[in-house]
Amino acid sequence: MMKPAVILSLLLGLATAVQAAPNGADLYSQQCAACHGENGKGGVGVPLALESFIDSASDQYLFNTIRSGRPGRLMPAFKTLSDAQVSAIVAHVRSWSKKPAPVYSNARIKGDIEGGKAIYQDKCATCHGHDAQGGSGTGVTFSRPRDLPIIAPALANQGFLASVSDAMIKNTLLNGRQGTPMSSFIKQGLSEKQLDDVVAYIRSLEKKTSQSEVEQALPAYLKYESSESMEDTLAAIKQAAIGANFRIIREQMFEQGYVEKGKEDRKKVILYFCNFNMLSKALAIDPRVGLFLPCRVTLIEKDGKIQMITVNPSAMSKKFNNEELSKICEQMSRLYKEILEEASL
């Protein structure tokens, strides 16, 4: 019979072996496929399996991208994955390419930043934006026709600049990306010197994050109180919401569907309302926004007062890593505050 110590050492050895070889396909499926597609065809995220992309992206670029993410552009930074796990994902993505991974120098390319800026504004800004902020939308059905394979990347994004080498940027300018609107700028008549200038300009957009840029924590919910009755408070919110161009779509007990009909706690009520124009715009910007739409206020009677509570869209939007969405959420937060302030008077 085996001694416990022998069994233990065998199990420990097996555990170490399992953890030493993470499964890239499984990790990709869990962490990446929702946005990039199970086979890398894209969707919310870049089509990683696109030949012209994967053949020209270095493993270092992919690794850095997983680590750094794209602040403000949906792609999160996967900071809790181990290096081995990230490498396994990179290897899985690499398996879609028939060519060996390109390797680029990490040396900076020297060029005329001002000259590069002029070329950028002339040749690149139409797709990548005048401030290199990239194209808009998330890439899913709601925001663009499916015949476009990619939304122009945000070249000024600090996650991109932290991930990419100058040589890889230059390679993209030299060869373009077949299957996307990005064409070779050599074929468009630019010289290599001019490409160096564009690379130098893009690199000049890299910033050092200052302490002032660190986000301040916002409250996760908005809460106001009313001294009026539940009925009067509901009526006041409805009136304020309609006045702010919302349509009342539903009023229900908080416990509806969870207890027998008629036995719900009448001190807890949910009021739903919607501005369909705003909803449509928000879904086009980011379909995940459904997590806090349609608009709603929960009313809870406690200690003789009615508490009017709702999510704080501005706080929620920070979790979505989407600057476009943050703007519309700030507008929603303002509207919520106006409605609830009016109802609490």
Binding site: L8, T141, I249, G257, F276, G290
Partner: protein, 151 residues
């Protein structure tokens, strides 16, 4: 002997798949078409002992208002006793309950998005509920896995 059992348990825990990183927003893609994904989702919610209270048909509302949209629904669910206890003590949680999953079509696939209940730990000032939030988070991940893996 107890020490050996403890060590074996720790060892077996090491064999468990490494948990995904804790994102605030969890999104998965299912290869099922929307109707089948919706059915699988609802069945899994019930299988996990939650009450399914309502489905908000966002797409229908948008279309009635004159907007074009793909299929988009929000599925509400929860456990009554836990929701009641939490909102009695922390009314602010009423903004985030019942739990919900946004489910929408993306070409032939279906996407599901949910706010990780671990996020609720920062909203209530009652740490005794953290164990419930952790269980909800675990259950929701299991539910989403059911939909992701279904064929």
């Amino acid at each position: 002997m107890k020490k050996i059992i403890f060590l074996i348990v720790m060892c077996l825990q090491g064999l468990m798949p490494v948990m995904a990183s804790e994102q605030d927003v969890i999104m998965i893609r299912s290869r099922l078409p929307f109707p089948e994904a919706m059915t699988t989702l609802q069945n899994s919610i019930i299988d996990h002992q939650y009450t399914l209270s309502r489905v908000q048909r966002v797409d229908i509302g948008l279309e009635k208002a004159g907007y074009t949209t793909d299929r988009y629904r929000i599925v509400f669910f929860g456990k009554h006793k836990e929701m009641k206890a939490i909102t009695d003590e922390s009314p602010q949680m009423g903004a985030y309950l019942p739990l919900k999953v946004a489910i929408f079509a993306e070409e032939d696939d279906t996407m599901l998005v949910v706010l990780n209940p671990l996020h609720f730990q920062h909203i209530t000032d009652h740490p005794e509920y953290n164990i419930i939030f952790k269980r909800w988070a675990s259950d929701i991940k299991s539910i989403l896995e059911d939909v992701r893996k279904a064929e």
